[in-house]
Amino acid sequence: MQRTDNRLNGPSGDVAPEVMRRPRHPAQSGDRESLAMRDAGAQRLAHGLAWFSISLGLAQIVAPRLISRLVGGNGQYANLIRFYGFRELASGLMIFGQGHRPAAAVWSRVAGDAVDIATLAAAGASPRMKKGGVAWATAGVLGVTALDVYCARELSRERAGQNGIRMSRSVVVNRPPHELYAFWRTFENFPRFMYHVQSVRTTGPGVTHWVVNGPAGTTVEWDARITCDTPNERISWQTLEGADIESSGSVRFEPRPGNRGTIVRVDLEYRPPGGKAGKLAAMLFNESPEQQIYDDLHRFKQIVETGEIVRSDGSPEGIGDVRQRPGQPSGERAGAYGGTAASSAAPAD
């Protein structure tokens, strides 16, 4: 079915966004900053190694005989060297192709280094090679290997700040803040535009019980309490102690100047506690959580502005339907309005 998500729970009480970016515990904050710096350093190193790979690879491809002489040979093994050149070039390009954390690509360099060392060792045994050249070349490769291993390990380390997933998204809705606030404050409305939320029930003053679809037909439940409720401006919430997924969130309604609707901003933060539930949470969020909030916010906009979630033959569930059937009637009545989880019931108001 649709992608899972839980948006609603999460984020950060009722702190302003600038403040939100600061970690909650000062003790952690130093850690996080230094981790981020290490990340950036590893990335720079990876890019340096990539350029080195590309230059060496090109040299090996263009002038294999010269390389052969540099490592103590006599111009022999040109084809092998050229072949290794393509390998170098490929891992260099892979590092750039892999984005922010090219860990796999850098590990592939480590594997390449091992091949190089083995080749040099074999060459060293050959009477046709000058031992001195081979020794220098081997020393050089060992040095680069050390850098590669360091870089790959740094990149493979847990991502900085990984134990707190934070995200924010916004949408502009052509209605005044008080209407949007009223719709949002009626938590029972959530399943209409949050496809992963099965139900939200108010169980006490400011306390709600959530049932959310998890992966593979499972459900996750938790209780949340409202931590801040400023009519027509903001609602914040946080899960209660003992929830499977610890999270907090807020939604803010900012009127746009000139009577141009309202910006609805959602900020969410999740802190999977680890263990089984943490894994589950990670699974829930693996698939671009920001995209899920985007989908939910746009469904919210559609319901409030037009009274329904717009469906097409290609996307019968509306926004966020990733299946994309052909653009022709499916012949099913199911999936027609009213028939799905996110019912397109009457417009909000």
Partner: protein, 391 residues
């Protein structure tokens, strides 16, 4: 029902598919009485628009009779005759309030796909790829019309289909192209491309008071229609004459006050080498569109003039003459037509007899023959300009 389905480049098939049903409360189901093949359908036919899926029903110019309505459609009833705008619009969002209906913020469920390619998404449209919503089109026996309460326009009894049909797209589209030229008395307007949109741009430029309208194409039949039916005062066949020189000569050297590009992404050039340059880059995906007409329009336009781009572009172009555009204070206006804005006023012009849009029709075929219609239109066989299909 029978429907014209896309199966790949140059592969259209009329097939049996399930009948549409009401999926949203503001839907209507229309039994189609007339539908047309649009020049922009040829971009799909020629495989230049991404995110098409095998089985997609084509067609965004259609009209017919309402046979079912959703519970929230209060202004239409079963039996009403309606013409349906190609762009789907809710009428409630900020874009719709600003009458920018082809930018409706709610009608494209696949907006995220369009955002990847274009930054922000335009409105959804019938039968025009999944990037624009994955809506089934109207070259079929029936179609589901979302937001029917806002978009569908009732056609007066007694007005033949062939007069009303083009309110769905090409007439308003040509009109908007002319309107974007801010025509003042005495103006000279040059129109690249004399397909249906170009013909209506010429006719509309005349209605809006242009003094001189220069039609540019390479097909004698289209140029003839431009002068005899649409109202062009001059023609340039770009295979015979250099367009830039001819326009300078016709305007005493200053160039046209406004230039309309009614060609778009699959332009041709007089010189085989010029065409080959862009076609080659297009084939290699180095650019997605061939902006040959657009470049000419920019270079030819008078200083301080307007370039009105109504021909469809899909992605990226190359060698955009930005220097000419900037240094000569040109203005470019463009957009998919905001059809709903123009339907009623243009319907009155048809009713008053000021224009009869059916002049563009060259071929009438049965829906069964849609594949043949596409082929003829694409190859411009038998002077084919506009094919109308009846189920």
């Amino acid at each position: 029902m029978k429907a014209t389905c896309w199966h790949g480049k140059h592969d259209m098939r009329v097939e049996d598919v399930p009948d549409p049903v009401i999926m949203n409360q503001r839907d209507a189901i229309v039994r189609i009485t007339s539908t047309a093949i649009c020049g922009s359908d040829l971009h799909l036919y020629n495989g230049f628009i991404p995110t098409m899926k095998k089985g997609d029903i084509m067609g965004h110019e259609f009209m017919g009779e309402v046979v079912d309505v959703g519970p929230d459609v209060k202004n239409l009833k079963v039996g009403d005759r309606v013409v349906v705008p190609f762009a789907i619009a809710c009428g409630n969002c900020l874009a719709c309030e600003a009458k920018m209906y082809s930018l409706c913020e709610n009608s494209n469920p696949n907006a995220w796909l369009a955002e990847k390619l274009m930054g922000h998404s335009p409105a959804g449209a019938f039968g025009y790829s999944h990037m624009l919503g994955g809506f089934a089109g109207g070259q079929a026996e029936y179609a589901r019309v979302p937001f029917a309460d806002f978009g569908a326009l009732k056609v007066p009894a007694g007005m033949p289909d062939e007069q009303a049909l083009f309110l769905s797209d090409v007439f308003p589209t040509g009109y908007m192209a002319a309107e974007m030229c801010d025509i003042a008395p005495g103006d000279t307007i040059a129109v690249w491309g004399c397909g249906p949109v170009g013909q209506f741009a010429i006719a509309s430029a005349k209605m809006l008071g242009a003094e001189r309208i220069i039609a540019i194409d390479r097909f004698a039949d289209r140029l003839a229609m431009a002068t005899t039916k649409a109202g062009a005062t001059d023609t340039i066949n770009y295979e015979d004459r250099d367009v830039f020189d001819a326009l300078k000569e016709l305007t005493g050297g200053v160039g046209p006050d406004a230039c309309i590009d009614a060609v778009g992404m699959e332009a041709h050039a007089a010189h085989p080498a010029l065409f080959a340059y862009d076609r080659f880059k297009q084939a290699l995906m180095l650019e997605s569109d061939r902006p040959i007409a657009l470049r000419e329009a920019i270079m030819a336009c008078r200083n301080g003039g307007i370039v009105s781009v109504i021909g469809v572009y899909g992605g990226f172009i190359d060698k955009f003459p930005m220097g000419s555009f900037m240094n000569r204070s040109l203005t470019m206006k463009t957009g998919q037509c905001h059809v709903q804005r123009y339907m009623k006023p243009l319907l009155s012009r048809i009713e008053s007899g000021e224009i009869d849009p059916s002049f563009i029709i060259t071929h009438r075929m049965r829906l069964d023959e849609a594949a043949e219609g596409y082929r003829m239109f694409a190859k411009k066989q038998d002077d084919c300009l506009k094919v109308v299909l009846t189920p």
